[in-house]
Amino acid sequence: MTTAAQTPTPEPPVSKRLTRSSGDRVIAGVAGGFGRYVGVDPVVIRLALIVLVFFGGAGLVLYGAAWLIVPSDDKEGDGSFDGRDVARRTGIALGILALTIVAAAGGFWGFATGGGTATAIVVIVVGAALVIGAFTGGTRWLIVPALALALSAGAVAAADLDVRGGVGERIYRPATGNQLRSEYKLGIGHLRLDLRNTDFSPGTHRVHLKLGVGQAEVLVPDNVCVASTAHISAGQTSVFDHSTGGADHDWQDDRTAPEGTPVLNVDADIGFGELRIAEQPDLYAPGNEACNG
Protein backbone atom coordinates (compact mmCIF):
# COMPACT_ATOMS: atom_id res chain seq x y z
CA MET A 1 0.00 0.00 0.00
CA THR A 2 1.47 3.22 -1.01
CA THR A 3 0.61 6.60 0.29
CA ALA A 4 0.44 9.29 -2.19
CA ALA A 5 1.96 12.58 -1.19
CA GLN A 6 -0.77 14.89 -0.11
CA THR A 7 -0.26 18.05 -2.12
CA PRO A 8 -2.44 20.89 -1.05
CA THR A 9 -4.98 21.78 -3.63
CA PRO A 10 -4.77 25.49 -4.39
CA GLU A 11 -7.86 27.47 -3.52
CA PRO A 12 -9.72 28.54 -6.61
CA PRO A 13 -9.31 32.27 -7.11
CA VAL A 14 -12.20 34.15 -5.58
CA SER A 15 -13.59 36.66 -8.02
CA LYS A 16 -14.04 40.03 -6.41
CA ARG A 17 -17.50 41.11 -7.42
CA LEU A 18 -19.10 44.45 -6.81
CA THR A 19 -22.35 43.76 -5.02
CA ARG A 20 -24.73 45.67 -2.82
CA SER A 21 -24.32 44.72 0.81
CA SER A 22 -27.26 43.09 2.50
CA GLY A 23 -25.57 43.21 5.90
CA ASP A 24 -24.29 46.79 5.88
CA ARG A 25 -26.96 48.88 4.35
CA VAL A 26 -28.93 52.03 4.99
CA ILE A 27 -31.21 52.03 1.97
CA ALA A 28 -30.09 49.48 -0.59
CA GLY A 29 -26.56 48.60 0.49
CA VAL A 30 -24.84 50.49 -2.34
CA ALA A 31 -22.36 52.36 -0.13
CA GLY A 32 -21.79 49.26 2.01
CA GLY A 33 -21.04 47.11 -1.02
CA PHE A 34 -18.87 49.70 -2.74
CA GLY A 35 -16.95 50.40 0.47
CA ARG A 36 -16.28 46.69 0.88
CA TYR A 37 -15.21 46.44 -2.76
CA VAL A 38 -12.66 49.27 -2.59
CA GLY A 39 -11.68 48.73 1.05
CA VAL A 40 -13.03 52.04 2.32
CA ASP A 41 -15.32 52.62 5.29
CA PRO A 42 -18.89 52.79 3.89
CA VAL A 43 -19.55 55.88 6.03
CA VAL A 44 -17.01 57.74 3.89
CA ILE A 45 -18.84 56.60 0.74
CA ARG A 46 -22.17 57.72 2.23
CA LEU A 47 -20.79 61.13 3.16
CA ALA A 48 -19.39 61.53 -0.37
CA LEU A 49 -22.78 60.62 -1.86
CA ILE A 50 -24.53 63.14 0.40
CA VAL A 51 -22.09 65.85 -0.62
CA LEU A 52 -22.69 64.96 -4.28
CA VAL A 53 -26.44 65.35 -3.75
CA PHE A 54 -25.81 69.08 -3.32
CA PHE A 55 -23.89 69.22 -6.62
CA GLY A 56 -26.72 68.90 -9.08
CA GLY A 57 -28.13 65.80 -7.47
CA ALA A 58 -25.27 63.63 -8.76
CA GLY A 59 -25.30 61.61 -5.55
CA LEU A 60 -28.92 60.59 -6.06
CA VAL A 61 -28.34 59.68 -9.70
CA LEU A 62 -25.26 57.60 -8.88
CA TYR A 63 -27.01 55.87 -6.00
CA GLY A 64 -30.11 55.14 -8.05
CA ALA A 65 -28.08 53.80 -10.96
CA ALA A 66 -26.02 51.56 -8.68
CA TRP A 67 -29.16 50.33 -6.97
CA LEU A 68 -30.55 49.26 -10.32
CA ILE A 69 -27.38 47.86 -11.88
CA VAL A 70 -25.40 46.30 -9.04
CA PRO A 71 -26.79 43.00 -7.74
CA SER A 72 -27.30 42.32 -4.06
CA ASP A 73 -24.91 39.93 -2.33
CA ASP A 74 -27.80 37.92 -0.92
CA LYS A 75 -28.50 36.69 -4.46
CA GLU A 76 -24.97 35.62 -5.30
CA GLY A 77 -24.91 32.25 -6.95
CA ASP A 78 -28.42 32.58 -8.16
CA GLY A 79 -27.65 33.69 -11.72
CA SER A 80 -31.27 34.24 -12.57
CA PHE A 81 -32.50 37.64 -13.60
CA ASP A 82 -35.47 38.66 -11.53
CA GLY A 83 -37.28 41.17 -13.71
CA ARG A 84 -39.96 41.82 -11.14
CA ASP A 85 -37.37 42.63 -8.49
CA VAL A 86 -35.60 45.07 -10.80
CA ALA A 87 -38.93 46.68 -11.67
CA ARG A 88 -39.84 46.95 -8.00
CA ARG A 89 -36.50 48.51 -7.10
CA THR A 90 -36.75 50.85 -10.07
CA GLY A 91 -40.19 51.94 -8.94
CA ILE A 92 -39.06 52.55 -5.38
CA ALA A 93 -35.94 54.46 -6.46
CA LEU A 94 -37.83 56.63 -8.93
CA GLY A 95 -40.61 57.22 -6.42
CA ILE A 96 -38.22 58.39 -3.70
CA LEU A 97 -36.26 60.48 -6.22
CA ALA A 98 -39.44 62.13 -7.52
CA LEU A 99 -40.71 62.77 -4.01
CA THR A 100 -37.34 64.26 -3.02
CA ILE A 101 -37.39 66.62 -6.01
CA VAL A 102 -40.98 67.63 -5.32
CA ALA A 103 -40.19 68.16 -1.64
CA ALA A 104 -37.14 70.29 -2.42
CA ALA A 105 -39.09 72.35 -4.96
CA GLY A 106 -41.98 72.70 -2.51
CA GLY A 107 -39.70 73.92 0.26
CA PHE A 108 -38.07 76.39 -2.11
CA TRP A 109 -41.27 77.82 -3.57
CA GLY A 110 -43.15 77.75 -0.32
CA PHE A 111 -40.65 79.99 1.41
CA ALA A 112 -39.71 82.07 -1.65
CA THR A 113 -43.30 83.05 -2.40
CA GLY A 114 -44.02 84.37 1.06
CA GLY A 115 -45.45 81.20 2.56
CA GLY A 116 -42.71 80.81 5.11
CA THR A 117 -45.00 80.11 8.05
CA ALA A 118 -47.05 77.50 6.18
CA THR A 119 -43.90 75.82 4.85
CA ALA A 120 -42.37 75.71 8.32
CA ILE A 121 -45.53 74.09 9.67
CA VAL A 122 -45.38 71.48 6.87
CA VAL A 123 -41.76 70.76 7.83
CA ILE A 124 -42.78 70.28 11.47
CA VAL A 125 -45.67 67.99 10.45
CA VAL A 126 -43.37 65.88 8.25
CA GLY A 127 -40.89 65.64 11.13
CA ALA A 128 -43.69 64.56 13.45
CA ALA A 129 -44.82 61.97 10.88
CA LEU A 130 -41.29 60.55 10.87
CA VAL A 131 -41.31 60.37 14.67
CA ILE A 132 -44.65 58.57 14.68
CA GLY A 133 -43.46 56.33 11.86
CA ALA A 134 -40.43 55.39 13.93
CA PHE A 135 -42.81 53.59 16.29
CA THR A 136 -45.16 52.16 13.70
CA GLY A 137 -42.46 51.32 11.14
CA GLY A 138 -42.16 51.74 7.41
CA THR A 139 -41.30 55.42 7.12
CA ARG A 140 -37.53 55.32 6.74
CA TRP A 141 -37.96 56.12 3.04
CA LEU A 142 -39.32 59.50 4.11
CA ILE A 143 -36.01 60.64 5.65
CA VAL A 144 -34.40 61.89 2.43
CA PRO A 145 -37.49 63.75 1.10
CA ALA A 146 -38.00 65.28 4.56
CA LEU A 147 -34.41 66.53 4.63
CA ALA A 148 -34.78 67.89 1.09
CA LEU A 149 -37.92 69.78 2.09
CA ALA A 150 -36.41 71.19 5.28
CA LEU A 151 -33.01 72.15 3.89
CA SER A 152 -34.31 73.73 0.68
CA ALA A 153 -36.70 75.83 2.75
CA GLY A 154 -33.78 76.65 5.06
CA ALA A 155 -31.62 77.76 2.14
CA VAL A 156 -34.36 80.12 0.95
CA ALA A 157 -34.87 81.42 4.48
CA ALA A 158 -31.13 82.03 4.88
CA ALA A 159 -31.04 83.83 1.55
CA ASP A 160 -34.11 85.95 2.38
CA LEU A 161 -35.20 84.98 -1.09
CA ASP A 162 -38.41 86.48 -2.43
CA VAL A 163 -39.45 85.61 -5.98
CA ARG A 164 -42.72 87.54 -5.93
CA GLY A 165 -41.13 90.32 -8.00
CA GLY A 166 -41.57 88.28 -11.18
CA VAL A 167 -39.41 86.19 -13.45
CA GLY A 168 -37.48 87.11 -16.58
CA GLU A 169 -35.56 90.11 -17.85
CA ARG A 170 -36.32 93.66 -16.81
CA ILE A 171 -34.61 96.65 -18.43
CA TYR A 172 -35.22 100.16 -17.16
CA ARG A 173 -33.94 103.35 -18.84
CA PRO A 174 -35.18 106.41 -16.97
CA ALA A 175 -34.67 109.62 -18.91
CA THR A 176 -33.74 111.75 -15.92
CA GLY A 177 -32.48 111.21 -12.41
CA ASN A 178 -35.82 112.41 -11.06
CA GLN A 179 -37.60 109.58 -12.88
CA LEU A 180 -35.49 107.07 -11.00
CA ARG A 181 -37.73 104.90 -8.83
CA SER A 182 -36.82 104.35 -5.22
CA GLU A 183 -36.90 100.57 -5.76
CA TYR A 184 -36.58 98.12 -8.63
CA LYS A 185 -37.59 94.57 -7.86
CA LEU A 186 -37.31 91.20 -9.61
CA GLY A 187 -37.80 87.65 -8.33
CA ILE A 188 -35.67 85.60 -10.70
CA GLY A 189 -33.77 86.78 -13.75
CA HIS A 190 -31.79 89.71 -15.08
CA LEU A 191 -32.53 93.19 -13.81
CA ARG A 192 -30.77 95.91 -15.78
CA LEU A 193 -30.94 99.57 -14.80
CA ASP A 194 -29.43 101.39 -17.75
CA LEU A 195 -28.57 104.93 -16.71
CA ARG A 196 -25.97 105.66 -19.39
CA ASN A 197 -28.23 108.18 -21.11
CA THR A 198 -30.01 109.39 -17.99
CA ASP A 199 -29.74 113.10 -17.32
CA PHE A 200 -28.71 113.47 -13.68
CA SER A 201 -29.04 116.79 -11.89
CA PRO A 202 -26.46 117.66 -9.23
CA GLY A 203 -27.24 116.17 -5.85
CA THR A 204 -27.73 112.72 -4.43
CA HIS A 205 -29.97 110.13 -6.11
CA ARG A 206 -30.85 106.90 -4.36
CA VAL A 207 -32.01 103.59 -5.74
CA HIS A 208 -32.69 100.26 -4.11
CA LEU A 209 -32.49 96.98 -6.05
CA LYS A 210 -34.15 93.85 -4.74
CA LEU A 211 -33.45 90.59 -6.58
CA GLY A 212 -34.16 87.00 -5.59
CA VAL A 213 -32.00 85.03 -8.00
CA GLY A 214 -29.96 86.31 -10.93
CA GLN A 215 -28.03 89.40 -11.88
CA ALA A 216 -28.75 93.02 -11.03
CA GLU A 217 -26.83 95.27 -13.39
CA VAL A 218 -26.50 99.03 -13.13
CA LEU A 219 -24.93 100.80 -16.09
CA VAL A 220 -23.85 104.31 -15.20
CA PRO A 221 -22.56 107.35 -17.11
CA ASP A 222 -19.01 108.48 -16.45
CA ASN A 223 -20.08 111.88 -15.08
CA VAL A 224 -21.84 110.39 -12.03
CA CYS A 225 -20.13 109.34 -8.80
CA VAL A 226 -21.49 105.97 -7.65
CA ALA A 227 -21.56 104.88 -4.01
CA SER A 228 -22.86 101.39 -3.32
CA THR A 229 -23.90 99.03 -0.57
CA ALA A 230 -25.21 95.50 -0.93
CA HIS A 231 -26.13 92.37 0.92
CA ILE A 232 -25.87 89.16 -1.10
CA SER A 233 -26.78 85.87 0.53
CA ALA A 234 -24.68 83.90 -1.92
CA GLY A 235 -22.93 85.37 -4.93
CA GLN A 236 -20.71 88.25 -5.86
CA THR A 237 -20.40 91.97 -6.29
CA SER A 238 -18.62 93.43 -9.30
CA VAL A 239 -18.26 97.19 -9.09
CA PHE A 240 -16.24 98.52 -12.02
CA ASP A 241 -12.96 96.60 -11.86
CA HIS A 242 -13.44 95.33 -8.30
CA SER A 243 -15.03 91.95 -7.69
CA THR A 244 -15.70 90.12 -4.45
CA GLY A 245 -18.18 87.55 -3.22
CA GLY A 246 -19.11 84.60 -1.06
CA ALA A 247 -21.93 83.54 1.24
CA ASP A 248 -23.62 86.14 3.46
CA HIS A 249 -21.63 88.72 1.60
CA ASP A 250 -21.85 92.43 2.46
CA TRP A 251 -20.49 95.17 0.24
CA GLN A 252 -19.96 98.84 1.03
CA ASP A 253 -18.26 101.44 -1.14
CA ASP A 254 -18.64 104.96 0.30
CA ARG A 255 -17.78 107.78 -2.07
CA THR A 256 -17.77 111.56 -2.05
CA ALA A 257 -17.97 113.80 -5.06
CA PRO A 258 -16.87 117.35 -5.91
CA GLU A 259 -19.48 120.08 -5.53
CA GLY A 260 -21.99 119.98 -8.38
CA THR A 261 -21.30 116.37 -9.34
CA PRO A 262 -24.30 114.02 -9.22
CA VAL A 263 -23.99 111.16 -6.75
CA LEU A 264 -25.87 107.89 -7.20
CA ASN A 265 -26.35 105.74 -4.09
CA VAL A 266 -27.06 102.14 -5.08
CA ASP A 267 -28.30 99.79 -2.38
CA ALA A 268 -28.90 96.17 -3.37
CA ASP A 269 -30.44 93.19 -1.63
CA ILE A 270 -29.81 89.98 -3.57
CA GLY A 271 -30.53 86.37 -2.66
CA PHE A 272 -28.44 84.27 -5.05
CA GLY A 273 -26.57 86.08 -7.78
CA GLU A 274 -24.56 89.12 -8.68
CA LEU A 275 -24.65 92.87 -8.35
CA ARG A 276 -22.78 94.49 -11.20
CA ILE A 277 -22.08 98.20 -11.59
CA ALA A 278 -20.22 99.25 -14.71
CA GLU A 279 -20.10 101.83 -17.46
CA GLN A 280 -20.65 99.29 -20.25
CA PRO A 281 -22.15 95.80 -20.41
CA ASP A 282 -19.60 93.01 -20.16
CA LEU A 283 -16.87 95.48 -19.34
CA TYR A 284 -14.92 95.12 -16.13
CA ALA A 285 -12.86 98.29 -16.15
CA PRO A 286 -11.94 101.08 -13.76
CA GLY A 287 -14.59 103.76 -13.37
CA ASN A 288 -16.04 106.24 -10.90
CA GLU A 289 -13.71 108.97 -12.17
CA ALA A 290 -16.30 111.54 -11.13
CA CYS A 291 -15.71 110.81 -7.44
CA ASN A 292 -13.10 112.40 -5.21
CA GLY A 293 -11.04 109.25 -5.19
Binding site: D24, V26, V43, R46, L47, I50, F111, G116, T117, T119, A120, I121, V122, V123, I124, V125, V126, G127, A128, A129, L130, V131, I132, G133, A134, F135, G137, T139, R140, L142, I143, A146, L147, L149, A150, L151, A153, G154, A155, A157, A158, A159, S233, A234, A247, D248
Partner: protein, 59 residues
Protein backbone atom coordinates in the same frame (compact mmCIF):
# COMPACT_ATOMS: atom_id res chain seq x y z
CA UNK B 1 -42.72 47.66 21.18
CA UNK B 2 -39.67 49.64 22.33
CA UNK B 3 -37.43 47.13 20.59
CA UNK B 4 -39.09 47.90 17.28
CA UNK B 5 -38.37 51.62 17.32
CA UNK B 6 -36.77 52.77 14.08
CA UNK B 7 -34.09 54.95 15.66
CA UNK B 8 -32.85 56.63 12.46
CA UNK B 9 -36.41 57.65 11.57
CA UNK B 10 -36.92 58.86 15.14
CA UNK B 11 -33.75 60.98 15.14
CA UNK B 12 -34.44 62.31 11.63
CA UNK B 13 -38.00 63.19 12.60
CA UNK B 14 -36.94 65.02 15.74
CA UNK B 15 -34.24 66.94 13.86
CA UNK B 16 -36.57 67.86 10.98
CA UNK B 17 -39.30 68.95 13.39
CA UNK B 18 -36.81 71.02 15.40
CA UNK B 19 -35.52 72.61 12.21
CA UNK B 20 -39.13 73.36 11.28
CA UNK B 21 -39.46 75.30 14.52
CA UNK B 22 -36.35 77.31 13.56
CA UNK B 23 -37.95 78.01 10.15
CA UNK B 24 -41.14 79.08 11.89
CA UNK B 25 -39.21 81.50 14.10
CA UNK B 26 -37.41 82.84 11.03
CA UNK B 27 -40.70 83.33 9.18
CA UNK B 28 -42.06 85.19 12.20
CA UNK B 29 -39.01 87.40 12.41
CA UNK B 30 -37.94 86.06 15.80
CA UNK B 31 -34.62 84.77 14.49
CA UNK B 32 -32.68 85.52 11.31
CA UNK B 33 -31.29 82.38 9.73
CA UNK B 34 -28.06 82.84 7.78
CA UNK B 35 -25.91 80.47 5.73
CA UNK B 36 -23.25 80.67 8.44
CA UNK B 37 -25.71 78.88 10.73
CA UNK B 38 -27.52 76.79 8.11
CA UNK B 39 -24.40 75.01 6.84
CA UNK B 40 -23.39 73.53 10.23
CA UNK B 41 -27.02 72.70 10.98
CA UNK B 42 -27.30 70.76 7.70
CA UNK B 43 -24.06 68.89 8.32
CA UNK B 44 -25.12 68.15 11.91
CA UNK B 45 -28.46 66.74 10.76
CA UNK B 46 -26.88 64.52 8.10
CA UNK B 47 -24.15 63.41 10.49
CA UNK B 48 -26.54 62.61 13.33
CA UNK B 49 -28.78 60.53 11.05
CA UNK B 50 -25.80 58.63 9.59
CA UNK B 51 -24.44 58.02 13.08
CA UNK B 52 -27.77 56.67 14.25
CA UNK B 53 -28.03 54.46 11.19
CA UNK B 54 -24.60 53.06 11.89
CA UNK B 55 -25.26 52.49 15.58
CA UNK B 56 -28.71 50.98 14.98
CA UNK B 57 -27.15 48.24 12.84
CA UNK B 58 -24.93 47.22 15.76
CA UNK B 59 -27.90 46.70 18.08
Amino acid sequence: MAERIDKPALVAGLLVAAFGVVLLLDAGGEVDLHFAALAPIAVFMAGAILLTLGLSRRD
